[in-house]
């Protein structure tokens, strides 16, 4: 479903990778690894269409993503290094807004249920600025627990970082469930993990 053709990446005058090609069929997880600074985040942002490749193309369902834009983004959920949540709002409000950006309208009780899955039930209605770093991370990841049937591609940048074991297990089980529903998941992780579905790996050479 997701194909990369001869991707080149030049950032700040430095050549990060060239001629990177791969194809990920549905219900498959692609794990991207590589040393620090190899260009993992750049690759993920390229797959999302945030970063224009210096060469090559990213295809989704055999069509270049730059020709699909909003239609592609409707199916894509990206969770990057930055949490994308506002300190002033409660966890539930943040979740509702994040879902609305992807075109998913949810009620407060659905948001609450998603937060509950990540162990944040008690913190759903207090401003996020009161939460710890790990808890904020979980608020961002709670997007993955929403009943979000349009999402066919998850791109996750270090989703397991800064999580305790319970939360990490929960995220892995959410990934498993989404893969079972036929989605593609692309992620980076320094922590070891296992999934039930097919797992492919790609390493960006330095």
């Amino acid at each position: 479903m997701l194909t990369a053709q001869n991707l080149h990446c030049v950032r700040g005058g430095r050549r990060l990778f060239e001629n990177l090609s791969f194809a990920v069929p549905s219900a498959t997880l692609l794990r991207v690894s590589g040393a620090n600074g190899a260009g993992k985040t750049s690759l993920l942002r390229m797959l999302c269409g945030l970063l224009l490749p210096s060469g090559g193309d990213v295809l989704w369902r055999d069509v270049p993503i730059r020709q699909q834009r909003e239609a592609y983004w409707r199916e894509l959920r990206y969770i990057g290094h930055l949490a994308g949540i506002k300190d002033e709002f409660t966890a539930a409000e943040n979740l509702i807004f994040a879902a609305a950006l992807s075109g998913v309208n949810i009620t407060a009780s659905i948001a609450r249920a998603a937060l509950e899955q990540l162990g944040l039930a008690r913190f759903a209605h207090i401003p996020v600025r009161m939460l710890s770093q790990g808890q904020r991370r979980r608020v961002a990841l709670a997007r993955l627990a929403l009943p979000d049937t349009t999402a066919a591609l998850w791109v996750l940048d270090e989703p397991l970082a800064a999580l305790d074991n319970d939360a990490a297990d929960c995220v892995i089980s959410l990934i498993d469930a989404r893969l079972a529903a036929g989605a593609v998941v692309v992620m980076t992780s320094h922590q070891p993990f296992t999934v039930a579905a097919e797992l492919r790996s790609i390493t960006i050479p330095v």
């Binding site: 030049v10 700040g12 005058g13 224009l52």
Partner: protein, 240 residues
Amino acid sequence: MSAINWFKYSSPHSFYPLAGRMVPWFLGAAALFGITGLYVAFFVAPTDFQQGESYRIIFIHVPAAWMSMFIYLVMAGWAGAGLVFNTRLSGMMARALAPTGAMFTFLALWTGALWGKPTWGTWWVWDARLTSELILLFLYIGFLSLTAAIEDDRRADRAGAVLALVGVVNIPIIYFSVVWWNTLHQGASVSLKSAPKMATTMLLGMLLLAVAFWLYSLAAAMLRVRSIIREREPRAAAED
């Protein structure tokens, strides 16, 4: 026509040697046109019966003002092409032209002031054309500052391109507003429109110098593009 592949020279790799070969020709031609133009300006064109010899500065002023606007248009053209076709060379050309454009804008303002002093007794009048030229200088400075402030080359090229296009859309509106403002306030009792009526020899001198300035701009832009390519893509430059 079909035999010429225009996109071939849109790659820095093939443009680098081409630019290198063209620079001496452009510079030589610029010198030739420049000397002829200056000869016409100083020896052929008659002395103005009102302004005496001091009017001769318009032989520099007018072509410089033409060039300042023309270069901005060319720059925006390259910028637009860069955004549409996503070619690397376009951004480089736009950035290579900007300093020369700013230089001519400054030259036009400077010679305008020098001309103003003996003619109107003041270094600066808020004349519509001088004011527009000043705003054009601001636009050039904005472009140069923005591209200088961004470290990533591609972002700098593309952000500069957007700004150049926004500028080009705004220039007519700005010019129109300044003319409106000028007529409303009637502050400047003199204006550049009171310049002596153009004789054919005067027009000839200005045209010669405008061509010289344009050839010089091309040579300067080529030299700058070559140094940009050397900096960004040493591989393309090394094979020359």
